[in-house]
Symmetry: C2
Subunit: 347 residues, 2 copies
Amino acid sequence: MNGHIDGDVVRVGGDARQRFHDSRGYGYPTGGNGIALAHVEAAHLLYRGDLDAVDGMDFRAFVRDATGNRFLPQFLVYADLRERGFYVSPAREEWLQQVTAPESDLVVYPRGKGPGDGEVAYRVRVVGERQTIAAAALGDCVLAVVDEESEITYFETASPDPAGAADIELPTGVDADLLADRVVCWGPPAALYESGFYGTPLAGRDADHDALQLSLVEAAYLAERGAIALDAATVRERGQTVEGDRFGRRLRTYGALRERNVVPKTGFKFGADFRTYAEFEDIDEFGHSELLVRVLPAGHVFSPRDLSLDVRLANGVRKQMVFAVVDETGGRDGEGITWLRVGRLTP
Amino acid sequence: MNGHIDGDVVRVGGDARQRFHDSRGYGYPTGGNGIALAHVEAAHLLYRGDLDAVDGMDFRAFVRDATGNRFLPQFLVYADLRERGFYVSPAREEWLQQVTAPESDLVVYPRGKGPGDGEVAYRVRVVGERQTIAAAALGDCVLAVVDEESEITYFETASPDPAGAADIELPTGVDADLLADRVVCWGPPAALYESGFYGTPLAGRDADHDALQLSLVEAAYLAERGAIALDAATVRERGQTVEGDRFGRRLRTYGALRERNVVPKTGFKFGADFRTYAEFEDIDEFGHSELLVRVLPAGHVFSPRDLSLDVRLANGVRKQMVFAVVDETGGRDGEGITWLRVGRLTP
């Protein structure tokens, strides 16, 4: 059976509708027994030997004829999902029935379901590893990255709403010195560290906590609330001096997490901004941190390789990777943060 | 007992030599019973209560008086190493006897040894997490990073010499198409993939390998050796077009690894350039990849947080993190690559 290219579809006649569409979910009916196939669908049928040729081209010639760097990644993901037993459609109007898929490339139906069943398992965006992807485009889709060796990595993305049960009453006016790029509190109430998990004792956990080191982010948050006797503006300025605009974004994220009763501590050992604890009652018995948080500016664009690094690391330490995309104008809800969770997915 | 500041040392008289230097390795003798202490040493003695005051200052006042953002990180690392049971000296000429420590901040002696024993356990460089460190400064030292919350992470650095036992005779003139940012070989000899681990079969490992996808790096390497029927310069130009100068560095690193009989494959899933196999005989039974390789330009300067991310990830997947710093002028040995291994260390 043969097809012919007609703009951005490949038309096939004969009994194509029954053979390819009705029984196997390829293409869309164009009246009579004919169907229209997307180029990736046509390539897949050529590859499987179900189509003999498209305008005289075999699979090799058809692939070579396809232009741009988008075709092959799309085909590879399409073929991979088909091999995993899913019916897949291009996310284009003519193919979709009763479902929508804005900003997607492919729609994957639940196993055993097809284009006519009105259900979607995954909305998939496809990128090559050298392309970039805007953080704003993620949160409600699966991202499929085709790496340079044509292996595929799937990421699921979601919009979480971090919340915890860690709450502490703050002290007032604790004596503190601002030193270069950190702060030391002298004789703070033990609860500040032991119940609030603010700071790090000067000589490790076994000392009697008569001096507590704070990061500039912790110190700015505490100074804003009058908990330490430093001028909040001075601490924020120091943060801006040593860290630039990143400091304001990190302080906003730190504050948002604390307001959500989540305890953020440095994520340095994981290469992140923060690790977080949703439950924290006492320094002597606290659990595993659940999230790694990386703070990003509004408009951030991911390199897939950086995303892969973060997600793989989080996975290896049994935490979830969360990005806090900070809109410093405050955003629509006042918090000014879009939370984005990205994890690995095996379809 | 009291000290007084004299430029960059703190002088202490009385029986200081016997009490602090001879029995506990602080400072250096200045004639008679006096010693000179570095500021970090004096701070440590103040902190422990062994010194009462320096020019009338207690520990808090002394720390507040110290200027610059280098003092506190240095003190924190000094105190941490002391707590771990080591004698530690500033890496300065007056303190060191029979040992040298170029480009270091602190010298750590083996447990039970001190300044007079002529042995060194670690040469330590200290940075705060917001400072940067040149790749060229690493390879023969321990890097101690003090993060914003004053926790310390130690990295050991070394100069490895990657080598393997994977060798394969290449075919000649395999038919191939250059497609956007990858290459497809048609009907290649099975050994190219199965013994050489070049490429990825077009439809996964179970297919009969009649089409093999190559990355541009693999393709450029194979084309340079006549193994595939593509013009090497054309493939390299395509690489340069889609990836910029990074492509040349990655190709040089790929080639160097292959010449060392190590098999490099993409490190995308780990956010690295390559993962490598030192032994590779057959696609059906090959082991764990040992190294993650990140390719960097000559003159690269690390952010400690990025370093922490890479090293933590490598650790989590039981691989070693290796950086290939590429000097595109060829460097002194012709290979043009400085290999740098960085791992976690618990002193």
